[in-house]
């Protein structure tokens, strides 16, 4: 069949089956619709339960506190005419800048979160490495032991640390009984106990992504390094460590982000001078009933956290690039 004849054939086909084509087109659109519905589900979820509340908080942060119900001024008022009047105040944000309490609380939170993340990394990396290198049968059990604490309430587990760390708690009693220390150590209600609490609570979030990363690392790469004259510890530094960087970043973000805004652990284990932004937030909201300032604190906290998240996202994109 010549080219011209084939084209003619195609054209006549098109005329004859106009109806069939329409159906076909509709069918083709259908899976696309199905796909957008699937994609839409998480967007709707995030929109309803994240974006809308965020906008409400943002709105409250721009209002002023009043003694009323709700305890803040409305953003939009319809006094007269068709156009609503906007009453937005930046007072709360100015207040956050002026009072050093907030600055100190933010910085202290970031500091505690950073040190805790580092602690989790130092403890979690060898654990993840050990699990990844363990025989397959032991691996399941070891992973289960990492996840097991999640079966108990987070609050209870943090509470249990009070019993362990307090003046006549488990550690002090054992150490005094052994005669190692003459008098009990002050381990509770200070920064130390906060670190212990955060590192303990968030360690699994560091171990799991690191394990996932280390477990799929190709053993032959380490053999290749050894073959090329690289001693084991150096092979770890020049091969294992750089290749596990995505796992380190993922684990660190999963620890750092919630640790910055942590409230329960500093509240239960921290001292009166353990200033963390979560506690400041709680105080503003529940004690001072100052919803606008509490909202402003929240907005600033989110901004503080958005930066590491963006870094995280970019790192993920880069990893994807390498893996492809």
């Amino acid at each position: 069949m010549s080219v011209a004849a084939r084209k003619e054939q195609a054209r006549s086909d098109g005329r004859v089956s106009a109806l069939g084509k329409a159906t076909w087109r509709a069918l083709r659109r259908l899976p696309l619709k199905g796909r957008s519905a699937v994609v839409a589900a998480p967007y709707i979820w995030l929109g309803l339960f994240f974006l809308v509340p965020f906008i409400i908080v943002l709105k409250i942060s721009l209002s002023q506190m009043i003694v009323a119900r709700p305890p803040f001024t409305p953003l939009l008022t319809w006094t007269e005419g068709w156009w609503p009047q906007v009453q937005a105040y930046l007072d709360n944000y100015v207040w956050l800048l002026q009072d050093p309490l907030y600055w100190i609380a933010y910085l202290n939170s970031v500091k505690i979160a950073l040190i805790s993340t580092l602690g989790c990394l130092l403890i979690g990396y060898p654990m993840a490495y050990g699990i990844a290198k363990a025989p397959a049968t032991a691996r399941t059990l070891l992973l289960l032991m990492v996840i097991l604490p999640f079966w108990t309430s987070f609050l209870l587990r943090v509470y249990a640390w009070i019993g362990i760390l307090k003046q006549n708690g488990l550690i002090n009693n054992v150490l005094m009984w052994l005669g190692i220390i003459p008098e009990p150590l002050a381990m509770l209600h200070n920064d130390f106990s906060v670190y212990v609490g955060i590192i303990y609570s968030y360690l699994p979030f560091m171990i799991l992504p690191l394990y996932a990363n280390l477990e799929k690392m190709d053993v032959s790469l380490l053999e290749a390094a050894a073959d090329l004259g690289c001693k084991p510890w150096k092979a770890f530094l020049s091969v294992t460590l750089p290749l596990s960087l995505p796992g380190i970043v993922a684990g660190s973000m999963l620890v750092f982000i919630p640790a910055v805004g942590e409230f329960v652990i500093p509240e239960l284990l921290g001292g009166p001078d353990t200033l963390m932004i979560g506690r400041v937030l709680w105080n503003e909201f529940f004690n001072n009933r100052d919803w606008p300032v509490a909202s402003a604190v929240t907005i600033v906290l989110i901004l503080v956290l958005v930066i590491p998240i963006v870094i995280f996202q970019r790192q993920q994109a880069k990893t994807q690039d390498v893996l492809e």
Binding site: A226, C230, K231, V322
Partner: protein
């Protein structure tokens, strides 16, 4: 001719009883629990050889290679490289480099960094390092790709990076684990010759592990055929092909027709074997030490058998030795050759390979054709195990 013996000495050092082997594997055994992966293997490999370890998967060839690299410690026995006992030496101290089957390129490093990695471990000065990396990349024709990451390269290019990385340290011994297995057929054939040229150029001793007999035969100066942890035969490709020492090697390398029988008479070099499986007598010109009445196997390669159409009728004469009448049961047309499977009765099939000398669509010998097979006494082999 003094010249000829000199070449025999350098090109085929294994024939020279005076030559000192470069790599000696002495009675090496490796057990994993109950399982014996390598069973009392002794091999001598000479300088600049391209030695192949050939065998089916699980025959212990990779374990042997890994013991040469230092990833596995022999349960017993010794390994010497250039007169140095390396049995207990960790891999990072051995003058040995390996090209891994998966290539094991570092994904986070560029081609250049991958190749430079080994030299950096030895703290080679920067200028020299750069020159040697450039040289190695030049050798495998990867200069323009120096800055690429491994995932940006094709399979063939990755293979060449792995080779350059292993060669750049100028090892005494280069180990190649199934070097061509991941490449497609055409590229594999091309790379085989490249690999030989490179080996020729750098003069490093190569030990290649492969399950592909064609690859082993093309590449190697000598090869060791392995089965269940033991070395069955060592020799040049043509020695192993033409003079297999056991039924296993005969069957493993290429295809072969084997007939079981009993030695009927020995007349000088001519051994006559009575074989019920063949349905007649076979004669083989052989130096094999066999006794009358002993059970032996007579082996004949398919390409050494001639096949001719048998005329209709004609009274069936008494069977000649090394000849049989049969019916073509199967023909495999491979382009350059055709393989015939001929039924000679009592359930015995003989494989015959013929070169397709003439271009023709019509087959001179077709399915169900009645044919006569024959071969001369000096193409057969007597195998006693």
């Amino acid at each position: 001719m003094p010249e000829a013996s000199a070449t025999a000495g350098t090109l085929e050092p294994w024939r020279d009883p005076q030559a000192r082997p470069y790599v000696r594997i002495e009675g090496v055994t490796k057990r994993f629990g109950e399982f014996t992966a390598v069973d009392d293997v002794s091999l001598d490999i000479f300088r600049s050889e391209l030695f192949a370890l050939l065998g089916a998967s699980g025959c212990g060839k990779t374990t042997l290679l890994r013991m040469l690299a230092g990833f596995e410690r022999p349960t017993s026995g010794r390994i010497l490289i250039d007169d140095q006992d390396v049995t207990a030496m960790p891999p990072y101290e051995r003058p040995v480099n390996m090209m891994f089957q998966s290539y094991a390129l570092f994904p986070h490093m560029s081609v250049e960094q991958n190749v430079a990695f080994g030299l950096k471990q030895d703290s080679v000065p920067k200028a020299e390092l750069k020159a040697r990396v450039g040289e190695a990349l030049e050798l495998v024709q990867l200069g323009p790709w120096a800055r690429r990451k491994p995932h940006q390269l094709s399979g063939g290019q990755r293979q060449r990076v792995a080779l350059a990385r292993a060669l750049v340290k100028r090892p005494k011994l280069l180990l190649l684990d199934e070097p061509l297995a991941a490449l497609d057929k055409k590229l594999r054939e091309k790379t085989q010759f490249e690999l030989m040229n490179i080996q020729d150029e750098v003069g490093v001793t190569f030990v290649v592990v492969t399950h592909d007999q064609e690859e082993a035969m093309t590449l190697s100066t000598r090869m060791a055929v392995m089965d269940r942890g033991r070395v069955m035969q060592v020799g040049t490709p043509s020695e192993v092909y033409e003079f297999p020492s056991t039924r296993f090697t005969a069957d493993f390398i290429g295809s072969i027709n084997v007939f079981e029988g009993r030695v009927r008479s020995i007349d000088g070099d001519l051994v006559v074997v009575e074989s019920p499986q063949f349905g007649g007598e076979l004669e083989v010109a052989s130096q094999a030490r066999v006794a009358q009445g002993q059970t032996v196997w007579v082996a004949v390669r398919p390409e050494k058998i001639s096949i001719a159409p048998r005329g209709e009728g004609g009274a069936k004469e008494g069977r000649r030795r090394n000849a049989a009448d049969g019916v073509v049961q199967d023909i495999a047309y491979l382009g350059d050759t055709s393989v015939f499977r001929v039924d000679i009765g009592n359930g015995t099939l003989i494989e015959v390979t013929q070169t397709n000398l003439f271009r023709s669509i019509e087959r001179p010998i077709d399915w169900d054709a009645r044919v006569t097979l024959s071969w001369t006494a000096n193409v057969g082999l007597i195998l006693s195990e």
